[in-house]
């Protein structure tokens, strides 16, 4: 399972620092910036081209399938063009974004919520390009905002994502239970959350959706500080959701903390895998496009994309 690191980058490819992305206010522009950078030539949608409805020609780019080159056009123009076809799709993509208070944490210039917003924006933009129907749910311990899936809802989804703010004490179990009530249609559901809950409870909640025939993708977003506990000074640590605080000497707890976090994510990954739920951990220190690139490549390799 992918759990990339910031320096785990592909050779010859430059990735966009999340802090640079944070300077882009427009989520659509952001999503395009991220997605356009790698989508051409890499991603071969089973939908795009599967249809016989010709859509357009576009210039050949290295990496395009040679079989898709329009040789007749090459004969006339002496240039390579690839034929694009209108994809038929009846798949819904429902993005579930956790906006609990804990998502508002960020130690390296970008909060988890911002990162998650970019992530779901990119995925939304990406699926929109694939002519999927796109919907969005923001949740804390229940549904906060709901945008029903539609092929024309990209703009509304992005606007809703942009407006989302983190607050409240989250409970993924309660939230997914509510979503399960109206998400009856088979769809691809992407859950983006920090998953601060017991792995069993998380998997049980997710599995509930999975059992309804949905294709589940769980993306856990964590800040590097949550993974490494890099603090030096002894301080009171205050829970962002409950407000509870305890005195902590980080230097003394660091190793044990890391072990616990690693065990937690490993357990999540293992249990998700057992439930055939796609799971990935995103570190907010990683370039977003790299994380997406790596994740999607991995997913493609495992042939799990629908």
């Amino acid at each position: 399972m992918f759990a990339g690191r910031p320096n785990d980058t592909g050779a010859g490819t430059s990735f966009i620092d999340p802090r640079v992305l944070a300077k882009i206010d427009n989520l659509e522009l952001l999503a395009r910036t991220v997605v356009e950078g790698f989508i051409n030539g890499l991603h071969r949608s089973p939908n795009l081209g599967a249809s016989m409805d010709f859509a357009e020609h576009r210039a050949y780019m290295p990496g395009d399938d040679l079989r898709r080159i329009d040789w007749r056009l090459f004969g006339r123009s002496d240039r390579y063009f690839v034929k694009e076809f209108e994809a038929d799709t009846n798949t819904d993509l429902l993005l579930l974004l956790d906006v609990s208070a804990s998502m508002d944490f960020g130690s390296n210039g970008i909060t988890k919520l911002q990162y998650a917003k970019y992530l779901v924006s990119c995925l939304g933009y990406f699926s929109s390009r694939q002519r999927d129907r796109l919907g969005l749910v923001t949740f804390v311990d229940g549904i906060v905002n709901y945008v029903p899936p539609s092929a024309r809802h990209l703009r509304i989804v992005l606007q809703t994502i942009a407006r989302a703010t983190a607050s409240g004490q989250g409970s993924i179990d309660t939230a997914l239970r509510q979503i399960a009530e109206f998400a009856r249609r088979r769809q691809v559901i992407v859950i983006v959350s920090d998953l601060y809950d017991e792995p069993e409870r998380v998997v049980r909640a997710v599995a509930r959706l999975r059992n309804r025939g949905n294709d589940l993708i769980v993306l856990q977003v964590l800040d590097p500080a949550e993974l490494d506990l890099p603090f030096d000074e002894a301080s009171n640590f205050e829970d962002m959701e409950t407000g509870e605080s305890i005195p902590v000497v980080p230097g003394l707890l660091r190793e044990q903390y890391r072990t616990l976090v690693q065990e937690h994510t490993a357990t999540l990954a293992r249990m998700m895998r057992e439930e055939r739920i796609d799971y990935a951990l995103f570190n907010t220190a990683q370039p977003l496009d790299h994380a997406l690139f790596a994740y999607l490549a991995d997913r493609q390799r495992l042939s799990r994309i629908r």
């Binding site: 800040d223 301080s235 009171n236 205050e238 829970d239 005195p247 000497v249 616990l260």
Partner: protein, 701 residues
């Protein structure tokens, strides 16, 4: 020996010790809150405790406090005050302490006097029962104000009552008193404390009385590092009577001394206490200027004048020298009765009146009479009578002349052709010697003046070089004169004959010139020396003294006034009276105050004489010399420099400078801080190994 501080205000820095205490207390209560997404994992981590942390931190805390306290101590510049220590300890036997307190008027500058008084108090503080103190106040003279006494209250009262005067600083009299007191003392320890502003003007490097061992000198400098003083250094009064009205033109010299920039000041002229003119002047920094006031008519009688300079408020901290007093007296006139031989031609009698007609200091009023028509009224109106080639008038006028001379008047006799031994017989008791025959020097084309007693008061004006060429005149004839042993011979001709002689008769003076003033027996009247000679002789005969516009504090003057024969009283500017009875032969007055002294007859209301007194301008120059120079000059010749200076604690700052204790304290503070860093690091490492209490609470001190 006690610990004293040069800059005790820095001890406020000890409050900084409270900082670690506050930090300690605050840190115990307040911890930095770190917002963290979830405590899910942190809560699962088991805690351990540090039981010895508090104890270790207290040691660290004490170290920090001590380091801060030492830093504050170092900045306060501590030093060991051995002087006061000795005073309080009283070891080494009883002491003879002589406190020399400068009360010259420069000590009135700013707060010098209060500092000097405090220093004097300190010097006598802690004297023991067997110790003896003498307080000597000095300016240009030294006065014992208290002691020698062991009664501290007496000395303290004397210090409290002392005030800076108007005198100028002179160290020699004060040190002479100190020398006497310490030499006479049998006490084993003899200490002289000199409290002064050490003005450069007070000591020009001349020999000073030396203290003998075991006496030691402690100097206390109460001078200021930067000074500013505006003053009137002098006044010149010139007279103008060109339009018949006697007017005085007052020109004042103003000066600014010290280190500060020039200022705009106001100069005023007061006549008899009333301001008659004010001028705005720009005084340059460390410079002088002159300001001339418009001519003022001089009233009858003696007039008091004062020129004042007023600088910006707060600029001038020495006020004594801001005013200069002077006296405007009516023009002095000496009446001269010139008695000629009857029938003397005009061309023989014209020289004397013309020679006396020139000059205004004093002016001479000449009444020319022939010996047969002179009256007693003429004699009464005269101060000096000149018998020019004639004998004493017969009858009452002659008697009046004798009375005049005995009463202090003057008589000048020019022996001529008609003043033979017979004519002279009428005034034998007056003439300085017996008149003889005519000596004729015409065959040898005249004689010359051989010698002159230029030190004689009558010829005082010729005392300087090239002040009168008496050898150019040729004397064809003169009379022989044989002075008595009590008579003074002022000049002789080249053949040894007497040319000029004097006899004191009663209070008066008689001068005899053995030739004439008419140009017949000599060509003296056409020589340049004639006019000053005649005027000088008349002034001497009249016992005339120039009336000075002002006197300087410290000068002693004779107050004998011919007009006051009975009891005389002098009133000082502060109102004190000094009386002289009729029997007092010496009537002199030492001027110690600035302002106007009045001399008057005991019964009279109006003053017969007014004396303006000003401070010595040299005292206004506030520049100082290093006290240790004086200390070296006073130290015994045989003593080594170490002995001389080792016992002399010059100033508080210098004592501190020599000890430099602050440096050691600072090094100690830095060492403590280094130790604190080491200990703190070690404690931090220990804490990481061994942390937190069993209940999950942690100590973050």
């Amino acid at each position: 020996m006690s610990l004293t501080f040069l800059a005790p205000l820095f001890l406020i820095g000890l409050v900084a010790v409270a900082v670690p205490v506050i930090v300690h207390l605050v840190n115990r209560e307040r911890r930095n809150a770190v917002a963290f997404p979830s405590l899910m994992f942190l809560r699962r981590v088991p805690f351990k405790s540090v039981r010895r942390q508090r104890l270790r931190h207290r040691a660290l805390f004490a170290l920090r406090c001590l380091a801060l306290a030492l830093l504050a101590l170092a900045f306060a510049r501590p030093f060991l005050d051995r002087e006061s220590g000795n005073a309080t300890a009283g070891g080494g036997g009883p002491r003879e302490i002589v406190v020399l307190l400068d009360r010259s008027y420069s000590m009135a500058y700013g707060d010098r006097w209060s500092r000097a008084s405090a220093a004097a108090e300190r010097a006598i503080a802690g004297i023991g029962g067997a110790d003896r103190v003498t307080l000597v106040l000095f300016d240009h003279e030294a006065t014992t104000a208290a002691g020698p006494t062991g009664d501290l209250a007496v000395v303290r009262a004397a210090i409290t009552n002392a005030r800076p005067g108007a005198g100028s600083t002179r160290y020699a009299p004060a040190l002479a008193v100190a020398q006497q007191l310490t030499d006479r003392s049998e006490r084993p320890r003899r200490e002289v404390v000199l409290i002064s502003d050490f003005q450069r003007a007070g000591w020009d490097g001349q020999e000073l009385p030396k203290l003998a061992l075991p006496a030691t000198l402690t100097t206390v400098d109460v001078g200021d590092p930067a000074t500013a003083n505006t003053l009137v250094t002098g006044v010149d009064v010139s007279r103008d009577a060109s339009d018949g009205v006697d007017r005085a033109i007052v020109a004042a010299r103003l000066a600014r001394q010290g280190d500060r920039a020039g200022v705009a000041a106001r100069a005023t002229l007061e006549i008899n206490g009333r301001e008659v003119e004010a001028k705005q002047v720009a005084l340059p920094a460390s410079g002088a200027m002159s300001v001339t006031f418009a001519p003022v008519p001089v009233p009858d009688g003696t007039t008091r004048g004062t020129v004042r300079v007023t600088g910006p408020p707060g600029d001038d901290r020495l006020s004594v020298d801001d005013a200069f007093h002077f006296v405007l007296a009516p023009a002095q006139v000496v009446s001269v009765l010139l008695i000629e031989n009857p029938g003397a031609p005009a061309n023989r009698t014209m020289f004397l009146p013309r020679a006396l007609g020139i000059g205004d200091s004093p002016a001479f009023r000449v009444m020319q009479r022939q010996s047969d028509d002179v009256t007693t009224a003429d004699v009464d109106a005269a101060r000096v009578v000149i018998l020019h080639g004639t004998g004493m008038p017969a009858g009452a006028p002659g008697d009046r002349i004798r009375t005049l001379v005995r009463g202090g008047g003057g008589l000048i006799v020019a022996l001529g052709e008609n003043t033979g031994s017979r004519a002279a017989s009428g005034m034998t008791e007056l003439l300085p010697g017996a008149v003889g025959e005519i000596i004729d020097r015409s065959p040898e084309r005249g004689g010359t003046m051989g010698s002159l007693d230029r030190n004689h008061p009558a010829l005082e004006s010729f005392r300087g070089a090239r002040t009168g060429d008496f050898t150019s005149a040729r004397y064809l004839r003169y009379r022989a004169l044989s002075p008595a042993g009590t008579d003074a011979v002022l000049g002789r001709f080249d053949d040894g004959s007497v040319a000029l002689a004097e006899r004191r008769v009663g209070d008066g003076r008689v001068l005899a010139f053995t030739s004439t003033f008419d140009g017949y027996w000599n060509d003296l009247p056409v020589q340049p020396v004639f006019l000053p000679l005649v005027q000088s002789l008349v002034r001497h005969a009249a016992a005339w003294t120039p009336q000075r516009a002002s006197e300087t504090v410290g000068s002693a003057m004779s107050v004998s006034d011919p007009a006051i024969r009975g009891e005389l009283v002098a009133v000082t500017p502060s109102g004190e009276r000094t009386r002289w009875s009729e029997e007092d032969s010496v009537r002199s007055l030492v001027l110690r105050e600035t302002g106007f002294y009045e001399l008057r007859d005991v019964g009279a209301v109006a003053a017969s004489r007014i004396i303006a007194v000003n401070p010595d301008a040299s005292e206004s120059e506030l520049g100082a010399f290093p006290p240790d120079e004086l200390a070296r000059a006073v130290s015994p010749p045989g003593s080594t420099a170490a002995t001389a200076t080792g016992t002399m604690t010059l100033t508080v700052a210098e004592r501190e400078k020599r000890q430099t204790l602050w440096w050691y304290v600072l090094v100690l503070a830095l060492l403590l801080l280094a130790a604190e860093s080491l200990l703190s690091n070690r404690l931090s490492r220990a804490v990481r190994r061994d942390v937190a209490l069993p209940d999950g609470k942690m100590n973050h001190a």
